[in-house]
Symmetry: C2
Subunit: 319 residues, 2 copies
């Protein structure tokens, strides 16, 4: 008599299982997008149209939030921190595949005096707190330097998929903020987003090996959505490129599908990237069952709420 094969135990309490099934799944989002409920007479940090667009599309492009002088201060600071990072030795510094060029510096919000101020800048923080109806802390931060000529593509992914499986972020209640320090054109590898994709969770196939993150920050292999799911998301919507002048800001919801193409143009791209997570959504044990990734990739100790501040960047830089 044949014995039946044992049922695979899947945590039924996980709304967002990934890397556990043999086939991809499209699962509905089980969390709000816009956590605040605007009432008549409220003082809102965004227009009703912007709030509606964020809820529907999963991201917001805020042009010229930082002025030219502020951008100059931030670029100057970036150059300084890049030179410091290039001296080597830090696990927080990621280089381009096949070269020593600095691509990212993690925990940027702890570097010097200027980047910490950026993370608490009231213009951004007031919006993020409103969207999440909560105080927030920095889940992850980095500065990215995408070089011209040889900037590589970054494949489609939902940040939340990784943060949930590998870092133990329980709910979709986090927002990424990218401040452009260079102009973003159609052709220099701008951030590409699929509007509306934040309302679907793409459960990916493939088990995650231990400590794979040491490579995955350069090249993704796990938590990669399948072709068919991506095609459906795009067919139901479109692809939008976050182009705009230096000083523009993109806020995007943690589950929106995004990626970028390569950059063979001479125009480099750099940005300051900060992930704000609700203080009510701090990390648990990773849902994928592996060891948590390091603190500089997924902060689980310093989760105090950020305090909004007005920042005078020129004064801070000693101009």
């Amino acid at each position: 008599m044949a014995t039946s094969s044992p049922a695979i135990a899947v945590d039924t309490h996980d709304d967002y299982p990934s890397r556990v099934f043999d086939t991809p799944q499209l699962l509905p989002r089980r969390d709000p997008v816009l956590y605040s409920e605007p009432a008549a007479g409220d003082q809102l940090p965004l227009s009703a149209q912007q709030l509606d667009s964020y809820e529907r599309e999963g991201f917001l492009l805020l042009e010229n939030l930082f002025d030219e002088q502020e951008v100059a201060v931030l670029r100057n600071e970036l150059e300084y921190q890049k030179e410091e990072a290039a001296k080597g030795g830090s696990a927080k510094v990621i280089t381009e595949p096949g070269s020593n060029a600095v691509r990212s510096i993690f925990e940027a919000h702890t570097l010097g005096r200027i980047f910490p101020a950026v993370a608490s800048d009231q213009r951004i923080l007031s919006i993020v707190e409103y969207l999440l109806a909560s105080q927030v802390y920095v889940h992850q931060s980095r500065v990215n330097l995408k070089p011209g000529f040889r900037g590589k593509e970054f494949y489609w992914h939902s940040d939340f998929e990784t943060w949930h499986v590998e870092d133990g972020m329980p709910r979709m209640r986090a927002i990424s903020c990218s401040i452009s320090l260079t102009d973003n054109y159609q052709q220099n590898g701008p951030l590409l987003l699929i509007p509306g994709s934040h309302k679907t969770f793409v459960s990916c196939v493939g088990k995650t090996p231990s400590k794979h993150y040491e490579q995955s920050l350069r090249k993704q292999e796990y938590g990669v959505p399948d072709d068919e799911s991506l095609k459906k998301l795009v067919d139901d919507s479109k692809i939008v490129a976050a182009t705009g002048k230096a000083g523009s800001v993109v806020l995007f919801e943690c589950n929106v599908m995004h990626g970028s193409n390569s950059n063979i143009t001479p125009y480099p791209r750099s940005n300051i990237f900060t992930v704000y997570n609700s203080v009510e959504n701090v990390l648990q044990d990773p849902f994928g069952g592996l060891e948590p990734r390091p603190e500089h990739i997924a902060n689980r100790t310093d989760c105090n709420a950020l305090q909004k501040r007005f920042v005078d960047y020129r004064a801070l830089a000693g101009c």
Copy 2:
């Protein structure tokens, strides 16, 4: 007494030396762009504005030159030839790095009945003959299938640099024609061109090893322009993406600098690519001194002038 090192012999009769100097050089073009001289009353295959634009920018985008029904016939034929090519075994079939997906089929103008007709289509041939003031033959032809999701970038290059050094094309008197069989968007890796770059020859550094072409059709390593030269070409001009609907045609001069970014979108790209060379510009020995590349990459035997023909694609396909 020290003996002086012997002088390196450089062919002073070569207007376009490349891969011979230790540093990159920007050399002036020594050939006409527009070979015909329009006179009042001439019957022209293009408007005066188009001729002027071609002379100045080095390329022309002709939207909707092929109608939807013609595109359908050509796509159908492409699918058939791709399936034939996927059966394997031909050196004329190039696959994607790291996969068996067909990326290009060379000598497309000799395949079946339809692709040869495309190469002689009077709509294209009459323009090319006028621009080059000459009858022409097919120097190289291929169909390209750039897949969605994982289409790789193709770095900046001048075709003429390669054809001169590796194939022995003497003068700049050839034109490439790309017929799009899919829609080209900003984000699915369209052809990028630097307008005006055809008036400068970028002499590249680095010696060419023998038989490197077996790899270079997938990944370039030789004849690659340096960053500084590229930056100057772009700073003096801009970058233009050849976007447009399926059925559009790009004609570009053999020395215009071009390339393409990766394509992570679900939208594939395919085209029919034909290089027309003047019958007065047939190949000599390669200027780089190596063995000529194979005939399917650089035709040096079947150089008879093409005869323009009116093509009824639907009839040809038996519709």
